[in-house]
Symmetry: C2
DNA sequence: TTATAAATGCAATAATATTTTATTTGAATT
DNA sequence: AATTCAAATAAAATATTATTGCATTTATAA
């Protein structure tokens, strides 16, 4: 099942409408090789589909909430989620040279289990992003 | 040894000059309870010490390189480092309500050791930030 | 004290993100 | 097929964060 089809399924399940802007953003992110900003996405949407950047931000918000996409904070950009399951912690390895962001799962993640208790923090979410050089760029 | 004194020592050891703007930023961050943006810092500097925000960005760059401060990506703000040693991984727990960012050390951190190898990534640095509610706000 | 690399100031601009209000539309219901 | 309305979008303004290039100043060492 493609990323777009999977995303449509999740949107419907959660009572979100399938709209032009949402489809446009999904199609752009399906193909993207590196994290894209809202403005990058605006540029990648076909010209015959006009789309407002504020709308893109709102679409991205919904997609993030549904874990269809993730924000890569190190790059201020957005990427599709490469994993269907919500098991484990979705983390990123980012190449400083070519810009790619590879998602990987952390099965046992300190941040989710032991650490919040030690810190007396009620954990809601967290981000783990590693920067370095990918195999091709190393 | 205070944060400011420690920072001066590190600056000198690395052949950076001790300047007005650098001292001003150090003094602001020494007192700050939550992550501050460059513009926040500008506002906190005493009025009789004029300081350009571009300079603040440049000062912050140097401080980050020297690990005197860290950027909290979840908040787009900067905080002083609370640990002297560069041992372990410096991570943050951030309160969504009051905004405080508590630094903690991860002694054995998956991101630094095993995972980059599995991913064929040459790891240079990484960020770990947990969001939630602190003890007071929970 | 003087020389000089380092640091800063200034002006312009870029990049990312949010708020508010008015209007449009997807899709469920009739 | 038409109706209905919450949900979604557009538009305009504004806010926030960050960078670049070039002229000038300054902290420190010699
Ligand atoms: Mn994911
Ligand atoms: Mn630290
Ligand atoms: Zn690469
Ligand atoms: Zn709190």
């Amino acid at each position: 099942m493609t990323f777009v089809d999977q995303s449509i399924k999740i949107l419907k399940k959660n009572k979100y409408k399938i709209t032009g802007p949402r489809m446009a953003v999904l199609n752009v992110l399906e193909e993207a090789k590196i994290p894209l900003s809202a403005y990058d996405i605006e540029e990648h949407v076909p010209e015959h589909i006009p789309i407002n950047v504020v709308t893109i931000y709102r679409v991205l918000d919904v997609f993030e909430t549904l874990n269809i996409i993730h924000k890569v904070h190190t790059k201020e950009g957005y990427v599709r989620c490469d994993f269907e399951l919500q098991k484990g912690c979705h983390s990123f390895a980012i190449c400083n040279k070519c810009g790619r962001a590879d998602e990987f799962l952390q099965e046992k993640c300190d941040l989710k289990s032991t650490l919040p208790k030690k810190l007396a923090y009620k954990s809601l979410s967290h981000i783990s992003e590693l920067s370095g050089l990918c195999e091709q760029c190393a």
